[in-house]
């Protein structure tokens, strides 16, 4: 099975301008491999290093040492992102554009031909149920609609790897169901999905494998069944791995 996403002894340190140039280590020698065709959940409590890892993978942040690769290409090269789709946690899009214009803009960035763009955009708008609002500015959309535009833009290039950062955060149950449906569909198409989430129930449902990161270190990696073995569910396993015991309310 080919490796789509790989990190090799990835280390990220931040030097604070305050506190006499104190250094904070966000990632400690992270080694991670995601295989083609799997849905991979990246879990960890707040501040564990999930977002930092994503930032390195997407080229927003250079690693202090080590390296990360997408499709075997160093993530510092823009071409490494040619076959990926990215859905950020929040709706960070040009809100003065319409959904149609936004998708056309990203299609141009991916170098899609006009014919492919004209075919792809209606398909995506139908998939995320936004055909009726395609020519309205994004700023007039509800949060759920904006999140669905995000999903459409993440799929514009028919990516082989989809990177989702807390994809269901802030969505209503219908929105969550839609995201789950799309992940399932991509999985059936043989695509790879890498996503971070706090929704452990959801992770349990859709993921083939998960990794748990805590304080910048990889604590566990394996199938959901392997990690949950000996525990009531994935949540209990997660709490044990990160060193927190659930306690009943007083």
């Amino acid at each position: 099975m080919s490796v789509i996403l790989k990190t090799d002894k990835l280390r990220v340190e931040f030097t604070s301008r305050e506190f006499r140039q104190a250094t904070k280590t966000a990632l400690v020698s992270l080694d991670l491999e995601v295989n083609a065709g799997e849905v991979f959940g990246f879990l960890g409590p707040n501040g564990a290093g999930k977002t930092t890892t994503m930032n390195v993978l997407l080229g927003f942040l250079p690693p202090t040492s080590g390296a990360a690769y997408l499709f075997g290409i160093d993530v510092r090269q823009p071409i490494a992102r040619q076959r990926i789709g990215y859905l950020p946690e929040m709706t960070y899009y040009y809100k003065f554009l319409t959904a149609d214009e936004l998708l056309r803009f990203y299609a141009k960035i991916f170098g899609l031909s006009r014919a492919d763009t004209d075919k792809r955009i209606p398909e995506l708008l139908k998939l995320v149920e936004l055909e009726h609002a395609a020519r309205r500015p994004i700023k007039s959309y509800s949060k759920g609609m904006q999140q669905r535009v995000g999903l459409a833009q993440a799929l514009i290039n028919n990516p082989d790897l989809l990177v989702l950062d807390e994809p269901t955060s802030g969505l209503d149950p219908l929105g969550r169901m839609k995201v789950r449906e799309i992940i399932e569909r991509l999985k059936n198409e043989g695509k790879t999905v890498f996503f971070s989430s706090h929704e452990l129930g959801e992770v349990e449902t859709v993921c083939d494998r998960v990794a748990i990161i805590h304080q910048g270190e990889l604590k566990a990696v394996g199938s959901v069944e392997d990690i949950s073995a000996g525990h009531a569910n994935l949540e209990q396993a997660f709490l044990k791995i990160v060193g927190v015991q659930s306690q009943p309310l007083p």
Partner: protein
Amino acid sequence: MNKIIAVAGVVIKELYRRKDFYVLFVLTALLTVAAGAVNFFHDEKIVRYVKDICLLLIWVSALVIAIVTTARQIPAEREARTIFPLLAKPVSRAQVIAGKFLGCWLATGVALVVFYFFFAIITGSREQIWPVGMYLQAMWLQWAMLAIVIAMVLLGSIYFAAPSSTSTISFIVVVGILGIGSHLKTIALQQAEPMQFILTVIYFVMPHLEWFDLRDFVVYDQTLVSWMALALATGYAVVWTGFFLFLAWLGFSRKNLTT
């Protein structure tokens, strides 16, 4: 190149959807009225004076549009975090910088065309002269000068987080260069050392934006500037623009955008 054009297209769309261009048209209307009044005075000196004021207004308006529009590009992308979905695509930071520059430069170019078009129509209809060549030369050199200014402001916007700081500093620098740039060498000669040395060095290392100013040629109906001089000035603008864009790319490529 398509990626750069795509980024530039978004800059232009944002500009006219934010209604910045309406301000431009109000200014153009004011300009038209001012120039339209020229014939009422029947005095050649006053005619020239009013034309001079109109051209000054064109310069100030174009500078305001160029500086204010450019100064907010990168900071706004960072603040709204729209930079992240963009950089998650196969686009380099150099292409983003080039696209932002191109968008701002084309937008100011459109503004200049509108300004000069109105200026030419009104003065032409009143004075019955149509120095189209001179207008084109004046407009081209002003646009070339604005390329340097836009690249400089883009560089400033990488380091100053607030667009207002970048705009203010850029405006002071540009107005300073335009105002005293040509006199700086003379001023330097009147100073004692080490000030004489410092001012002389500044004179030789600063971009001479005032060399692109053909307003007096337009006002006094002078003959066309030689094409060689025009080509040299264009080359000079290309070098300075390239230099500032290179520095902007250098700063942006090393910038941690996540903090």
